[in-house]
């Protein structure tokens, strides 16, 4: 692959894109990019889930693919799961694909709240089996540069929602 020749137009295109007005999706995507870093905090659940309630969780967000994607990763002390979420633009949509421990991959579309503090993702569609439920909804709320909140809603079989609230402080 002739990378130098290949990369220059990509960089040029990126600069061109910045010079035009951003769509709402791009603004929301750029807002999420400000969360890049490592985060730590406790989780609370409704209804209470004894296996994770109050546990310390670690989240990292990383801008990749030359700014075209964000990798979100979540782990918890003593937990085997390690779900990855990719955030990216598709035309004028902000999308999230959640590579779930349950073996499926829901996609959600994101929009910024009127007050500009939150980006809320609504379920769009899903690949893979939903036999064990699926992640259904996510909200990212920026409190300040070193504090943000994530609210994830998992839909158990029978459409029973389980809400998890992560209050996260920046560690890096």
């Amino acid at each position: 692959m002739n990378y130098p020749r290949f990369m220059l137009p990509v960089v040029f295109m990126s600069l061109c894109a910045v010079s035009f007005a951003q769509t709402d999706a791009q603004k929301s995507f750029d807002k999420l990019k400000t969360l890049a870093g490592s985060w730590e905090g406790r989780v609370t659940t409704v209804p209470p889930q004894p296996d994770i309630e109050g546990k310390l969780m670690t989240t990292s967000l990383r801008v990749t693919s030359m700014g075209n994607a964000i990798v979100h990763e979540m782990t918890g002390a003593g937990r085997p799961d390690d779900p990855i979420t990719m955030l990216y633009l598709d035309g004028d949509r902000l999308l999230l694909t959640h590579y779930c421990d349950a073996g499926n991959r829901p996609r959600m579309t994101g929009k910024t709240s009127p007050d500009g503090k939150s980006v809320e993702f609504e379920f769009l569609d899903i690949a893979g089996s939903t036999q064990y439920g699926h992640m259904h909804h996510a909200v990212f709320t920026a409190v300040d540069a070193n504090h943000h909140i994530e609210d994830w809603t998992y839909m158990e079989p029978g459409d029973k929602p389980v809400h998890a609230h992560f209050d996260l402080q920046r560690t890096k």
Partner: protein, 165 residues
């Protein structure tokens, strides 16, 4: 999120899955998982690093590529969808091609071919068209990534990778 009951179900499901015959896609996915680790090779005289990591409780393999002095850092995700082994490439070019994988008759090569892509627009340079993983031994594999340019031409690069971890 997931209750203990849910976790137990997943463990039982994993065990029961092993008891049944795997599809070709599952076999290929398991083979790809053996590449988990970090790898290093050279391309165009520069050092390239690849990491592969099993995530999402074994349901996803995450591939990441970076090189010395290079700004790009594409991510690829391998998953199973029914009978298909899928690759989604989060490309530096700004699009996300989806490819489906097939294994060669000798079982040593898995080739992913382009199916479709999200965020594919004409102003972009093109999209990743094909990825070929060749298994040589436990500590050595190659990856060939081929890019289809919007002018109809293709370009590609072969990464000859040795395991570092």
């Amino acid at each position: 999120m997931k209750s203990l009951r849910f976790m137990l179900s997943l463990v039982l499901l994993s065990l029961s899955t092993l008891a049944f015959a795997q599809t070709d896609a599952q076999k290929s996915f398991e083979k790809l998982k053996t590449l988990a680790g970090t790898w290093e090779g050279t391309f165009d005289g520069k050092t390239m690093r690849v990491s592969l990591r099993v995530t999402s409780m074994g349901n996803t393999l995450m591939h990441e590529m970076a090189g010395d002095g290079r700004p790009d850092d594409p991510i690829s995700m391998f998953t199973i969808d029914g009978d298909h082994l899928l690759l989604t490439h989060y490309c530096d070019a700004g699009n996300q091609p989806h490819m489906v994988g097939t294994v060669s008759p000798d079982g040593k090569t898995i080739t992913f071919n382009f199916v479709n892509a999200s965020n594919l627009v004409s102003s972009q340079m093109g999209h990743m068209q094909r990825a070929t993983f060749n298994f040589i031994d436990d500590d050595h594999h190659t990856e060939k990534w081929e890019f289809a340019m919007s002018n109809g031409k293709e370009m590609g690069g072969l990464l000859d990778l040795k395991r570092t971890k």
